[in-house]
Symmetry: D3
Subunit: 245 residues, 6 copies
């Protein structure tokens, strides 16, 4: 199967890192197709950037509609996930959603560790209807560049956060944010509960959905758009909105 | 005060209608500035259109940042509301949010009538944390063109829906959707509970926020962006993301 | 418009202070009519006092029914709010409700700071269906007399509480309690998020409701009483219960 | 033990009926002390009446403080329950609360049948934190006088409502409202799930609390008032607010 | 009445202690019938043990069906409570459920103190639909043997936990776990809110249910099993599943 | 990988059918190991049977601990899921949980169709913290034998239920119950939203969890039992409780 790993940032280096993580996680036979939007924020950290990136992501996906078997959103905010599901003729998975649902399958409640805005992740998990399964979110005092430059020091902080969440009752901890990729492997041995990486969970969830061969919705708010018109929308996206076949 | 009435669709006729409704509702001294996005869907009815329109709306607002005293989103999906609050140096109000909060001030629970996707409105109200105040949503079997062509017939359906919601316990009914503008006046006399129009409520809420002279957040997820970079973002929006002063 | 600022305590000094705050917040053309109940607690701080004051407040409002355009309950417990809405022929607003709904319009979640019983405010916000929007409540270790005698010292404590709530995720902080009036202006410059005063928000919300000219409910639990009889009820209130016209 | 059966209405006939029901339900050794307020609504059916009755009830209880071992509020709105708990030196039970908690002990979810305002009962159960246990509320189209005049016909409606709630998943049905007293015995044989009468449940719950000899709260919002002053409050109630010993 | 006090552990000493506590709490005329399962864990502390004990408990109850007037589950996990209610022709009460519902009748919210797994109790209270009434759970760092060997030291920890919960807003504290039996009497004088023991509450709740003479459900998920077959089920339990009369 | 498909009923024919369904759904390389408990109900339909089957299932799993790579509970009640996760050294998946989480990944809300007790499934989904994602549950008026004897007629009923759920807002429908196996394929073409079969989803979710190589919890309520003793527990299960290595 062909799995589109769609970054929502315009930073190619993040796309490359995500593609590498996806390849490492994928089953044999899963081809990883990395993609980066034409426009939008370099790195999403705020509400406004997430909105711009959402459009950019749909724009990017539209180019690939019909050419891939599934999509994994390689962005921890799961940017534009619902709209992507509506327009694409294949399954679409969000990396943080995938990690949270995987955490659910381990039983009990989970925690989440991030560098970024705690509130945006809290809202995301509430939108997924998973607030009751969430112990808490801890925003570690560190930045993505620090994570690259000094992974030991940042790892110590992440591990402390994960252990604190486990002590509060978490049976698994989701590491949210591209900069936390790989920290699950680095820290797992020292952590009393499972650490979940969104890229690994997301690749496998995408494979799962493809294997189930579920049909696309024909009614309701996820049914494909039809006859929708607009201005200044890229040709690919405009064609999906019109429902061209 | 100068109130930007920002449509999120690219249909000028809707902007004009909203501006007229806003002018009718505004206090003396409130100048209505209508605006229509440069790009995006003609009329938002689906998830994907709402995402594209969200970008278009931020783009539109960025042009006006600093030149208006408040913004009213003239779109019943309250498109991009949170991100607009983050980037704009003035209050931003969503028309459906404004109607729902007004309904809260009448006491008890409220209902919502729309033509469109019931699920998107249900999610919106859940995101506002107002699910407990919502009796139910009824999607009337009619379309915007029908509402224009045959307002009596459509009004009969809307009134029946509002009465049904009142019988279920609603103490007010929000009419959501541009095509329902004016139906509050048309139907109120026959309805046992208040009918709320988002444009009227929104204009007054915007005036209220301006009068309170509240400061902009300096911390947290609504603090203004600073130093955020990207590609292919319009100059005005890019300047707001960089935090230019 | 004539706005009744109805204290629920029998302490005239509080009524005077609230009236002054209301006048400072009001739009030109809004006349503030202060009122104090004939009976009831000097200052409401407990559950039982709130119950007695609720009756006293209805008694007070009944005298003014038909003579004012709106009512603002000048008591942070929003005492008897729902019943007041039922009997009065004009809009009725609670000061804490108004501040909480204003906070909602800034986006995200809010916190609340008070001197008094934390649990009574938690229950109030839960009754408003706003628990999901509430970060937390902090009861500052201070009393109303201390706030008057040593506002600097008490202000330091209130500011610390507001900052702590902001750090937990609050995008606005409601100051609940008459003794906290004016602390929003005093502390705002040093606080990273908006501080909301119930009197200011309440006056503006009352003006908003008057401007919308919404009808009174004709059905349901907020419809005016009709034919209700009783013993030992003051003439004005008894007339409202009977539905005299 | 001496159990005060406190009506919150001023209709003596209801007090008498409740006292009779309480005597029928009580254990040997439980003496029923009926009481009727000095003032207030003849029969509570609206929000405003409930507020007036709440004061009247505290006034009534204050006269009995120290002379009874427990209080049962003989009013289906559980009027002033929390405040009564705060001021009384003995356990206080609400009849609807008692029936709902008894329903919980049968397992699963329960329904509620009433003649009166559905919304007021919905709010009551939500305040008890029991919304998840509630299947639904059905307001039967009948009145208290009809229930007395034509119990067969009204009973048929009540039974139909109870059966409908059972079919929706209720494992017990609470009959709320003085006018429904006795309908549990009349209809139980024909109903597939238990019908719960608030007076019977309430008397037994009051006996239970007395038998447990639990101490009064010394801290928090249920601690006895101390040093609270006011105007025009009856001597007994004023003494309790001052905390006279 | 004959009250079966059914331990779910196979440790006879716990059964004896529970029976003694039950006798101390019971009304005159209540005969306590202690019982211990034939098989299962010595002491339930984990999820798996609770599952095995659930079967053992049903097995034990089946032997007594028809010979007792009520059942009290003498195990703080309220093991198999719902299934026990389904198969037994008499009321069945769980000791922690009984304490929580008693706490509700004191008003406000409650806390819970235990030695054991915090998460299992959190799930239990959520299943009861009482999460909104729960302030928090504190798992004291102590073990059952320590509680026996050094009750003063363990009591100090339990009291500190109870006081912390009261300071957070709890108006009552449930002591959950057989090893905490008797600590309510030991610590009550020093605690500002009521401490609730599940055995005492449970005995009285069982007596209450018997006194109400409620019928068994004839429909729904608590109706008695009928015609259910299986392998290797003890004769008594098999007879109940078949619905033998 | 070796996947244990563990029936919780003692009916071998159901085990065989589930194993066939699992084989049809499995990836190449997944070996299906069917297993049937030694004791317990023939078919679980009631609360009591579910409790007995839970013990039987743990008993069955204990025999396979260490010999399989994952477990799929082939029972729509996900019997003993949490306890199985605690004792087994490999991932354990419940078929209904798997279908519900798969539904989540399609976006929006889902519905559930079953033959059996609606309330038991409602409780199950609430325990999973997924109540907000659930539109409704419909219990079709049919039985397992009827489904086998007259699949066309039963299929018509199931399809009508699924369509009704889609009309209420469901974007996917979970078919819960062994007797509904295969109806997804039979009815999908006529249904506007995806029909989800627990066996297919469960097999794939088990494969996913194995591929992620997550560690077992070392702390909290899912950590392996250690040193737990009991009476009359089968040797394999007793060894797991002791934590023998």
């Amino acid at each position: 199967m062909r799995l589109l790993v769609a970054n929502a940032n315009t930073t190619e280096a993040i796309t490359d890192a995500c593609a590498a993580a996806a390849r490492a996680a994928a089953a044999p036979g899963t081809e990883i197709i990395p993609a980066t939007p034409r426009f939008g924020p370099a790195v999403i950290t705020t509400r406004a950037e997430n909105v711009i990136a959402a459009h950019a992501l749909l724009d990017l996906l539209a180019e690939q509609a019909g050419q891939v078997d599934a999509v994994l959103l390689a962005v921890s905010h799961d940017t534009a996930l619902d709209a992507a599901r509506q327009i694409m003729p294949c399954p679409v998975v969000g990396m943080t959603e995938a990690a949270c649902l995987t955490a659910c399958m381990l039983g009990g409640r989970f925690g989440l560790v991030t560098f970024g805005s705690l509130e945006m992740y809290r809202e995301l998990i509430a939108r997924y209807g998973l607030a009751e399964r969430l112990v808490d979110i801890i925003a570690v005092n560190a930045s993505a560049p620090e994570a690259v430059a000094d992974p030991d020091s940042v790892g110590t902080k992440v591990l402390a956060a994960a252990k604190a969440l486990a002590a509060e009752g978490a049976n698994a901890v989701v590491l949210a944010g591209a900069a936390l990729a790989g920290f699950d492997n680095r820290l797992q041995a020292a952590c009393p509960v499972a650490l979940l990486d969104g890229m690994a969970c997301g690749v496998r969830m995408a494979e799962l959905l493809v294997s189930l061969r579920l049909p696309r919705a024909q009614a309701g708010s996820y049914a494909p758009p039809k006859g929708r018109m607009g201005l200044g929308i890229s040709p690919g996206l405009a064609a999906l909105l019109r429902g061209d076949t």
